[in-house]
């Protein structure tokens, strides 16, 4: 009986997530009336990384702060701000970590150069084979 009660209690218990009691922000799960603006907002939200569920974009995440960020993105797009400027604003605060879009920072140069280097090496190897 005790076990059964515990089981029932576990089934109805609300998981103790660190979530507030406030409802989600207005624009967090609501599309903008203008489809073009909504598409812009959607595009940006899919490239912004969630601070809590760090593998997800804010478009996918159910975390509250992701909802608040979606609200922020939609509000600013509706006010006429360009997605690139909102992204830059977020990068100023969280660093390039916040965006999934690869950056052109010097730290990433070896990564961009790698395919080129591999191609050159492969070309050199093939040439040696053909010559032989």
């Amino acid at each position: 009986m005790k076990r059964l009660l515990l089981l029932i209690a576990l089934m109805i218990a609300h998981p103790l997530f660190a979530d507030s009691n406030l409802p989600p922000a207005y624009w967090s799960d609501r599309q903008l009336p203008d489809p073009k603006q909504e598409a812009q907002a959607r595009g940006l939200m899919e490239q912004i990384r969630c601070l809590v569920c760090q593998g997800q974009s804010i478009a996918d995440s159910d975390a509250e702060i992701a909802g608040d960020m979606r609200d922020l993105v939609r509000r600013r797009i509706a006010a006429g701000e360009a997605p690139s400027s909102i992204r830059a604003w977020l990068i100023q605060r969280y660093g390039t970590w916040i965006t999934f879009k690869p950056t052109a920072e010097p730290a990433a140069w070896p990564l961009w150069a790698l395919p080129l280097v591999l191609l050159l090496v492969a070309g050199y190897l093939v040439r040696r084979r053909i010559k032989r």
Binding site: L16, A18, D19, S20, N21, L22, A25, L51, V52, Q54, E64, I65, D68, M69, D71, L72, L90, I91, Q92, R93, Y94, G95, W97, I98
Partner: protein
Amino acid sequence: MSRAVRFAPLAVFLVIVIALIWRLATPTSTFVPSRLEGKPLPAFDLGPGVDTKPALSTRDFADGQPHILNIFASWCVPCVSEVKVLQELKARGAAIEGIAIRDTPEDVAAFLARNGDPYDRIGSDPQSALQIALGSSGVPESFIIDGRGVIRYQHIGPIERSDIGMIEHKLEQAR
């Protein structure tokens, strides 16, 4: 083919394995630090977080004194124990301002009555807007703001009793 070249792929493979083991053994930190350290506090003007205390705006940090800006919430579990430590810091002379994230005045009042109240002022941030503007990613977090309103230090997670010395040192540096 020379001996060295023949073993090159094995060497590369070993380097990759060692790199993987090293990264798996010491995972990177999941903390996302704010890039605003050393930059001025973003301008804000929040409503009151609780009815019995003054609200919070950027102007409150322009008094020439260092402040601890504590981001907390009544629904945040680690905040409960942090409040005690903040009270101790306040007793030693620190000025502490609070920002209540996604909270209601009633819940904040109940939280302060139950756990203690170290705050001079509390601003309300119902949609995490200021939190995002500060580059903060969760509760609790604290920023040390110097007398000119510049962010000097960000502390991610609760301030523990063992951090008191370090925080006081940072406050001294921000004077």
